[in-house]
Symmetry: C2
Subunit: 377 residues, 2 copies
């Protein structure tokens, strides 16, 4: 087996933070010589009091927006930059690539220094808490005593809560976007099925694939199922309706079950832009870490108690009313729990048709909410 | 390739109606020597004026309830029988297995008389309208001049509308349960992905599988994705929460991505009860027929006009507010459209947590609605 091609996934502007070695993992084992990829925007002030940390969803890298090191647009380009909602004229912004990812941080596709070969399934069990601990080391490594704010989207909303729970005082405030304090069975079921599709692909081969035998079918299904649950039926009714593809766009006229409707072509495009650009084992590890996450563990079995033990001065939880994967009731729960802990905490359920992905695309609604919160700090 | 084992899927109490031969198909081609499996309950009155037809969803057979020929419980056992909501002391009830299915009616798993081998993908393209036309032949073959009511669930809701549109006067009334007048992009996307999972299974082999090389992985994923969309997150939160499986119930402790949560075991049970009991090619054909269905074709491009051309005296459309696959707005559309055509038409959106499957399990709500409608006829 040739090593997995981790190098090609790393944004060119990435910097790297070496984690403490050994880096202990919550569920057992430790990493040696591990690193976290991150990027920054803006300028730290003298006291390093203007630092904002962004922790991400499953698939994004650390390149949230263009910057001096990498002018390519990032995955949150409209939200982050000079004069934008997360205003880099005021804030020194750090975005970390999650531990376990394949976008520059150490994960199952990285080389295990003990063997010289990729970890694959020998990577220790990964939890959201490990991702949070690794992010905390980046924050400390940059000399930041206390973040002005930690912002977490989707899986990053879980990571941010774990960070706040495990590292008291690490941030004065928190914005939780389309996140949750624990995984519930609908999203567990979806992610379990995504993982099963990858594992059932004969090319997955117990994690021992390479470029020539990449589990493309499994990753296609996993990604398409993701996109189905990231959006909403309402948006698609208006966007695609029952519109057919042009005949010349249909890939294979002799395929009786091939693409026919625009919505199928949309899913196909998403799959093509994802497979072979994401490592399947990393996907499995990060996906499972979300299922395991339950802030009730920090609250004696009660998720509200777990949230109430977190100390931040101000908090905001935002989501889309059409999100079926991280439903807004979960963001409401986050706001209520943080308020019990003494935070001035608000909740906004946006009427965005774009479902879970709304924070990426409905910047008209999510932008002002984030801007107003940060401006008032 | 050995013939597909269609025989073992047929309920022992099935009767068979020979379709006209050739039986022309809407999208081209014709069937020769085709048949429809059906079952009956109750006794026809002298004028055959008490007949009720049930057309089904994708997977059910004609055995909706126990009867003299087959005492095993049926898939709608609680709804259909003496004194039940569909009261077989009053009604002569007929349930047909859809054309294209593998439960006794002719479909892609049946033997093509022209070749002596299973049709497989040589079966002509199947539409909801063909399923409706075949059901109409059963009704006529039983000597029924006009049905008192046609009841359609899920895909059967589409079939019933096609039947009413193409066979004016065939029924005096109609109950549309969790059905729709056209497929919309969310459900198209889900079904397209289910079909892709089957087609990507190497064992599918362009439809040329047999018992020894059955596309089990693809069918597992298709079924689990179905079950995820048939239910609702709300129900699962209450039913499963984050409860783990007992350790001895976990199939393989050495499988790092194996079953851990109760909800995963629930999906697994559904998959096991489905794979190898449903023919994959039949699944592909019936699934695609739903995507194609659009009653707007009968209304000059306007779905409401298509519905308004249907003539029934009374109609009722029912659904569950938690249905994400056939959302209640689609049942409301059916009621409004049939009302425009002159029917006394009602709509009930039930507060059932069980999503699309509610009509199968929430008989506390769906039963009285059906009973009240039929009692008033």
């Amino acid at each position: 087996m040739s090593p997995a091609p981790t190098h090609e996934f790393i944004p060119p502007g990435s910097r790297f933070h070496a984690l403490s070695s050994p880096f202990p993992m919550k569920r057992g084992g430790a990493l040696h010589g591990a690193r976290i990829a991150y990027e920054t925007w803006g300028t730290p002030d003298a006291q390093l009091g203007n630092a904002v940390l962004i922790v991400t969803g499953l698939s994004p890298d650390a390149h949230a927006a263009s910057n001096a090191e990498d002018p390519a647009p990032g995955w949150w380009e409209g939200m982050l930059g000079p004069g934008k909602a997360i205003d880099t004229d005021r804030w020194f912004v750090v975005c970390v690539n999650s531990l376990g990812s394949c976008k520059g941080s150490t994960g199952p596709a990285s080389i295990d220094p003990a063997t010289g070969a990729p970890y694959r399934l020998a990577f220790p069990e990964l939890s959201i808490e490990d991702i949070a601990d690794a992010a905390a080391e980046v924050v400390r490594g940059l000399g930041i005593g206390q973040l002005a704010c930690v912002i977490g989207n989707s899986m990053g909303g879980m990571t941010a809560l774990a960070l706040l729970a495990r590292h008291p005082g690490i941030a004065r405030s928190h914005i939780n976007i389309s996140g949750s304090a624990r995984a519930l069975p609908f999203s567990i079921a979806v992610r379990s099925l995504q993982r099963e599709a990858i594992r059932l692909d004969p090319n997955w081969n117990g994690g021992e694939y390479d470029d020539d035998s990449y589990p493309e079918s499994g990753m296609r299904i996993a990604r398409k199922l993701g996109v189905i649950t990231y959006r909403s039926a309402l948006e698609w009714d208006g966007r695609f309706g029952r519109v057919r593809l042009d005949e010349q766009m249909v890939p294979a006229a002799d395929d009786p079950f091939g693409l026919e409707f625009q919505v199928e072509s949309y899913l196909e495009g998403h799959a093509r832009r994802f497979v072979r650009r994401y490592d399947p084992n990393c996907y499995l590890y990060l996906s499972r870490s979300m299922d395991w996450f339950d802030l009730a563990e920090a609250g004696g079995g009660d998720v509200m108690a777990g949230l109430a033990r977190i100390r931040v001065e101000r908090a905001l939880a935002i989501g889309a009313n059409t999100d079926i994967l991280f439903p807004v009731q979960q963001q409401q729960e986050v706001a209520e729990g943080l308020a019990r802990g003494g935070a001035r905490a608000g909740f906004i359920g946006m009427d965005s048709p774009q479902g879970h992905d709304a924070f990426l695309v409905d910047l008209e609604h999510f932008g002002p909410a984030v801007r107003d919160f940060l401006d008032a700090l």
